[in-house]
Assembly symmetry: C2
Homo-oligomer: 221 residues x 2
Amino acid sequence: MTSPVGATDRTSVRRFPEKAVKDRSEVNAILDAGLVAHVSCVVDGQPFVMPVGYARDGDRVLFHGSTASRLFKNLAAGQACCFTVTLLDGMVLARSAFESSMHYRCVIALGSCVVLEGDEKEAALIRITDHLLPGRTDEARKAAPKESKATLMLALNLDEVSCKVSEGDPDDVPSDLTDPIYSNIWAGYVPMKEVFGEPVADPMTTEKNIPTPDYIKKWKR
Amino acid sequence: MTSPVGATDRTSVRRFPEKAVKDRSEVNAILDAGLVAHVSCVVDGQPFVMPVGYARDGDRVLFHGSTASRLFKNLAAGQACCFTVTLLDGMVLARSAFESSMHYRCVIALGSCVVLEGDEKEAALIRITDHLLPGRTDEARKAAPKESKATLMLALNLDEVSCKVSEGDPDDVPSDLTDPIYSNIWAGYVPMKEVFGEPVADPMTTEKNIPTPDYIKKWKR
């Protein structure tokens, strides 16, 4: 690790270095705010990128998949992995198309995964459920041995990390700000966020008239 | 191409094949609903995954980056690329942790990118702006020659594509549905969507009292 955030030559932010985040607590906050990561692994020279649910656990991230998945088998074998979490926060409208962009928070971690087994695996399963479905662990049935066996649980240490945050007003070309046409168009940003809708009960839940639990009603993004 | 959607041995859906989408119009609809793709390329055996804004243009996707970016240089050189778009639609609460999951729509395209130049590049720049910031093209300043030169515009043909959609009620283990405890917990899903907030004008726009254009007010997700 060459910096608090874990930047190395491979993960130093070269484009827009002013957007680079050096603070590990900010990296952690981004990872804790996300639900889905995009994970890549190389198979026969071809990279594959798949979405996975995940959770942060201290200085590592946890994610799982099927023991039957090609990508997960390769990751379990310790092949090079890239784990990327992107939160899209808004659309930025500059006076020029070139300077128009997005607000985002992005964490990229590189490394090799390790496979978790036994108690560590059980704890990781609960950790992921707690992150993705807070409150659910107390109620839902925990993984049966057969189910746990069919699940490959991977951990990636946050040793080599890049983090970039783009926020604030558009960064216009100075000449556009004095141009008689372009200085008179609307510029700014339109925030975006993910929101939860009303919970939808399945037919058996509806039939039995089971009320929506409070822990679900409290979910916010 | 071995199927209407462009599935090959590398992109056939092996996990949950019942979720595989075979219809190209559905693939197109997912790509048209997304704003950000996660693109991967391999550098020295290490995959890198980066978020990019993009647009679909017929049977290909367009995205751009800086001519100074390592990843984009590698993609421009025709190295193997994976382009993934994931739309997260909800959290699925089954009676067991194992069957709990997410609603999502995901398109994965493999191939090598080509670099667009000249008129094709200019048209692609406009196409991307039209997709990400609908209505903005008429107002914003178009790319100056210097700006266009600093932009690497890539196209990836949708020849080798995988598409998976997860929706509907939880798919519980039958024994949980008759279990005295687990059959009595709430099960279903909580829909999610991305929404736009109120547009935020930058200081000059506010000072000049420039009203928010209708085309921005109309943005919906």
